[in-house]
């Protein structure tokens, strides 16, 4: 069933295909980002309690969602690398770490800026904020561990184990606002429709979420291509590349 995808495990194939996809993904991302920004900053109505301050949601929530999504990709790539020793998977995990750390940092900072005017504090050690901070430490730990081991493939294996051990933090972050009493509010998008968000607020949010996702894919592919060129520098396809 997965045979058509096997060829992308080959560095050259991945490099070339990613290169072809990039401009289209980037264009789509830009479109959605601009649409989402207009939607969130101008189109969406004023909040009855939080006024215009709630608009931070349009960068905070997409960042937070991405901080978790990127970790799942990193963990999935790590598992693939451990089980099948596929180099491209190792590179995807390695390239994802700084991006995941960036999104986590953004979630924490924008959340902090939202918390001060609305809930009276920049920080509180509740389950949601604490587990998200832990996520940042996991990403930084992954990057530090990788830098500390000289052999790239050995580094990938050790980091893969770290990534997989840390996966338990993701459901903790997600369910923290339901399992514990937190200052952080409950789930943004509720599955069972209790007090759902007004569509004029929800649509820009989902647009920004997709835009952030595409952004991650674009930047990830750029980083992976760079890492493949560096790590496969001895291979003939790299040496003979004219452009």
């Amino acid at each position: 069933m997965f045979e058509p995808f096997y060829k992308y495990a080959a560095p050259q194939q991945f490099y070339l295909t990613a290169g072809r996809l990039l401009p289209w993904l980037a264009a789509l991302m830009l479109l959605l980002l601009l649409g989402g920004l207009y939607g969130g900053l101008i189109f969406a109505p004023t909040h009855y309690e939080q006024g215009e301050g709630y608009r931070i949601i349009y960068v905070h929530v997409p960042s937070a969602w991405m901080s978790m999504f990127v970790y799942m990709v990193m963990a999935g790539a790590s598992a693939t690398a451990l089980i099948w020793r596929i180099k491209v998977a190792e590179v995807v995990a390695s390239a994802s770490a700084p991006l995941g750390a960036s999104f986590t940092l953004l979630a924490l900072v924008t959340g902090s800026l939202w918390g001060k005017p609305m809930w009276g504090t920049y920080w509180v050690w509740d389950a949601r904020l604490t587990s998200e901070l832990l996520l940042l430490f996991l990403y930084l730990g992954f990057m530090a561990l990788e830098a500390a081991i000289d052999d790239k493939r050995q580094a990938a294996r050790s980091c893969a184990v770290l990534a997989l051990v840390g996966v338990v933090n993701i459901p903790i972050i997600h369910y923290s606002v339901e399992w514990w009493s937190t200052l952080h509010q409950g789930p943004t998008i509720s599955k069972f429709g209790e007090r759902p968000m007004h569509p004029h607020m929800a649509i820009p949010l989902l647009t920004m979420a997709v835009a952030f996702n595409l952004y991650y894919v674009v930047v990830l592919l750029m980083r992976v291509r760079n890492l493949l060129l560096e790590r496969e520098s001895g291979a003939s396809w790299v040496r003979e590349m004219e452009s």
Binding site: L41, I42, T46, G51, E52, G53, R55, I56, V59, H60, S63, P98, L99, S102, L105, L106, V109, T110, L113, W114, K116, P117, Y215, V218, V219, M222, R223, R225, N226, L229, E230, V238, R239, E240, M241, E242, S243
Partner: protein, 63 residues
């Protein structure tokens, strides 16, 4: 003009809202530009080297 000022004022939350969007913009732009430039540099260097080795004196002559 008034509408623009109102927009920037963000109902009194200007600092918190624009700091949030500002920090986000800086991080996202940086994470884009850094690999983009690195990619350009890597490919430029490879193109230079490919030109060199194609005509370089590394062929073993058959005597």
């Amino acid at each position: 003009m008034g509408a623009m000022l109102e927009f920037l004022h963000m109902g009194g939350y200007a600092f918190f809202v624009w700091m949030s969007y500002g920090v986000t913009a800086i991080v996202l732009v940086a994470n884009w530009i850094i690999p983009m430039r690195r990619g350009h540099r890597l490919r430029a260097e490879l193109a230079r080297n490919a030109g060199r080795t194609a005509s370089g004196p590394t062929k073993v002559q058959q005597q």
